[in-house]
Structure formats: C-alpha cells, structure tokens
C-alpha cells in the first residue's frame, strides 16, 4: 500500500526556447500510514511533483502508481493546493463542500453526514456552513478547504504549503488534525516551514533542481543537512544546536522543542 514513483521526469514548454526540466528521474516510495515531508528551495519541483501525484498532469517520462493504480483525483488521492481559497465558488460553504461529494454519487444523507463529521474532526463551528466562503477569514477558510478535501476520504492526501499565511493558532490546529488522521492515510506534507515538517514527518525527501538530494528518516535528514553544512535545510532551533556543537558545546542536534533546547544549553553552560 504505497505511492510508487519511478524514473519520473517532467518538462515544461518542451521543445521551445523556454524548455524547463522540472523533475529529473525521480524515484520515491511513500507508504500508507505515514507523514512524508517534501522540502526544497523554490522551483525545486515540489509543486510539480504534487500535482503529478494528484493525477493533475501526465509526466513526460516515468510512472506514478497509487496502490498499483494510476492517480485519480478525488478517488484514490486528494490535494490541498497552495491557495485553496481560490477554489471556492458557491454561495454557501455547505454547497461548496457538497459539490464534490454529490459528483461522486453520494446520497444527500451521506453528504450531510460526511460534512458534519469532518467539521467535528477539525473542531469547526457548524454554523459556518450557511455562510458565504467569501466572508470567512483566511484561517477558517483554509481549515474549511482542508475539511472539503477530507470529506472525499482519500487514502493519500497531498498538502502543498497548508500553513502558509496562517497565524500560529490556526497552524497549530491544522497540524494537530494532521497528526490525528495520519495513522489511517498517507500524508505528503510540503512546506517551507522546516520546524513544522521535521516535527510532523516520519520520512523526508529533499528536492534540488528537480532531483532527489536526500530521502530517509528525520534524524537521517538532520545528519544529512549538517554533513553538508547546509544550514538553510535546518529549522532555526536545530541551526542553533548545530552552531553550538561546532563551537564545542555538548548538545544534541535533534531537539523536539524550545524547552528541550534551553535545558541542554543550560546544562552545557554549567559544565563549562
């Protein structure tokens, strides 16, 4: 039960003067029941890979299969786009959330049930269903967009910069929900917020100029980043710990939170 990506290559504007190789012979396996982080600089191919995994394009070469089948958006894979707010168009949020489900052929009763249970899962007020999506604030709207994708019950869910433009409170809420649902499905988590990616993921891949530069576990990722002296790939907290290690402080690189880091720094200062 996994997404299998084999020798995947994708080219924009092929055969023209603007030809750009976005992905270059990518091999990845993403197993069900895990959170898989995808990081990399801008233009490294993350969003292109996301849209191909979601079945929204045809790769130039190579293959993607989900549990042995091609990606089929809305059926075996769901995606939350970078600006999901742009995809609301109905008069009320309920109509927006229901449209995809009705398209799947669900009964009205089942549609109601799925929508309300998903709002409960995210801790969203049911009254927002009667409101226009255009009158909801960005944080609520982003959670509503996430709820809309979840109602489709995808086995594999791709989240492309889900917390961009969200305040810390909304971010925390979204991350908590992701942790809660990740045991049953696979989540591909794409973000520039490295602290978040490292905290939430079990496995990580780094894309650089369309190629896989690293793939493995989170501790392996931190070792890889420090091995290359790639500070930009370390969350700020780990940057501090890495800098201290290089200055001879006896601290761990892999710290879970600010309190852990403070405790280690205090102890190390006392020992000197």
């Amino acid at each position: 039960m996994s997404i299998e990506i084999r020798q995947l290559t994708h080219i924009y504007d092929a055969g023209t003067s603007r030809e750009t190789i976005a992905l270059d012979r990518i091999d990845l396996t993403i197993s069900k029941g895990t959170v898989f982080g995808l990081v990399g600089g801008i233009g490294s191919g993350k969003s292109t890979l996301a849209s191909l995994m979601a079945g929204l394009g045809t790769p130039a070469q190579g293959s993607i299969t989900i549990d042995g089948e091609p990606p089929y958006p809305g059926r075996n894979v769901g995606i939350l786009f970078q600006q999901p707010e742009d995809f609301f168009f109905e008069k009320t949020l309920f109509e927006d959330m229901a449209s995809g489900l009705l398209h799947l052929g669900l009964t009205e009763e089942e549609v109601h049930k799925r929508i309300h249970s998903t709002l409960d899962l995210l801790g969203l007020d049911h009254q927002i269903l009667d409101r226009s999506p255009f009158h909801l604030n960005r944080g609520t709207l982003r959670l509503a967009a996430f709820a809309t994708v979840l109602t489709m019950r995808p086995g594999y869910l791709i989240l492309d910069e889900p917390t961009a433009s969200l305040d810390p409170k909304s971010r925390k809420r979204l991350v908590e929900v992701i942790k809660r649902i990740s045991g049953d499905i696979a989540i591909i988590y794409i973000s520039h917020r490295l602290q978040e990616v490292v905290a939430i993921s079990e496995y990580l891949a780094v894309l650089e100029q369309g190629k896989v530069a690293f793939t493995g576990t989170v501790p392996g990722y931190l070792d890889w980043a420090t091995g290359q002296d790639a500070w930009e790939y370390l969350p700020v907290l780990n940057q501090v710990m890495y800098g201290l290690q290089r200055m001879g402080f006896d601290v761990d690189l892999n710290v879970a939170c600010l309190e852990d880091a403070l405790e280690q720094i205090r102890l190390s200062l006392e020992r000197t």
Binding site: G43, H135, H192
Partner: protein, 266 residues
Amino acid sequence: MIELEDIYFSYPAADPVLEGINVRVDKGEYLGIMGGNGSGKTTLARLMTGLLLPGKGTLRVNGISTSDRSRLLEIHKHTGMVFQNPDAQAIGETVEEDLVFGLENLGLPVPEIDARIEKYLDLLGMRELRHRNIRTLSGGQKQLVNLAAVMVMEPECIILDEPVSMVDARCRKIILQHIARLNHEGTSIVHITHDPEELIWCHRLIVLSRCGITNQGTPHEVFGQLLDEKKMDVPVPYAISRKLGLPLALTTEALLEELCRSRSGN
C-alpha cells in the same frame, strides 16, 4: 508618508474589521504588522493603497486623501503593494513581460527599463526566470516575481502582505536583507506577516487584533511583551537569549556569539 486617523472599516454584511485605528508610517520608516487571521492586516494594507476606502476616518498618502479618487494615480506612483496571493497580481505571460508592464506605463525610456529589470533580476537572484512562463512557476517563484514587479517601479513606499510565505529559508534571507537595504536607502516599508523572524529589521512593530492595536514598539519591546503574554510566536534566537538572561539576540548568528561570550565569561 502614510497617516491613518480614526479608521473604521466593515465589509458588507459582516462585523467591523477595523475600529478606530490610528497608524502613522513616517518617511523612511520600516513598520512591521503582525496579528491573527481576521485581525484586519490585509484590509489595512488595501486601505493604505486606496484599493479600499474607510467607512469612517481619514487616510492620507503623502498628504493626499485616498478618498480623492481623482488623485489615485498619484498615490499609486508613491506606493507599491505586494499581494498575499501570488496569483493576484501577475499581468504578463512571461516574467520579463510582467516586469516591463509597469515601467512602460511610467513612460520610461527603453534603456532605463532594461537597466532596472537587469538590476532587480540580479538582486533577487532570479535571472534564470526571466523568460519563463509565469503559469509554470511555483508559488515561491511567483512571489519573487511579484516582489520584483513592485521593486522595479522604485516607489517611495512598499507595502508587503505576506510576501515570502512560500519562499524557502535561504531565499527568504536574501529577500529580507534586500528589503532592509531598500529601506536603508530611503524606501518606506510596511511589512505584514505571521512570521516574527521576518520582522527583525523593522524599526517599529504593531500587533493588530479585533480589539485594535494591542502592542506597539520596537521589535525588542514587542517580542518581549508577546513572550510574556504567550500570545504569539517570537523569533527563536530572541526567545532563547531572553530565557537564558543573555543580551537579546534576533538572529542565530547573534545568539551564538552571545552564548560563546557567556561561556568565556564562565
């Protein structure tokens, strides 16, 4: 540069977003604005550029009221805005066309247009994107294009609404340093973000909520208040330095220096 006096604003059929807001952005100032979702930050930015009109109160840009619609073009020559949604402001098909559009409208001669485009493509490290179709760019790349499109116009004031939310750490650092340099050279900056690490160069920081402005001061003052109130995130180096009782540090480099000094002192 920009003066907001007793500003009220509501969207149709919705609760008020801003009530009795007073903000002043001085010439050459770098103002940071933080606040939760729905606190009115983006509305405030749109008011500052005359894209929205206040329900009550007065708003002037270089002494011109934004309510004077006959002088809106003058206001837009003074101010440029980078929108939150990277798809909201692209006009050209390619990056170059997008950058040329505003400069042609200013009536600049072709050599000047070329020189400015070269300068900002280099400064933002995006030379290889020059002939790319904007449609095929990632969110972060589109944000770079939007920044460049405003910077090439060289306005007196730039209003940035979450300008680097989709940009990686290395690129973000370069952009923030460039914004700080522009400010140092005299451009006024209004920078809206949820990420306190982006605001370490600003002169003054305000925190907006539905109740109005709740915190105001230098980044050191406001981050200290936010840390005590446990209300919002503050930069990690600031939190560590303050909790360890070290001189306050806003960057990783500064924090490491302070820790090194502290160890030597022992």
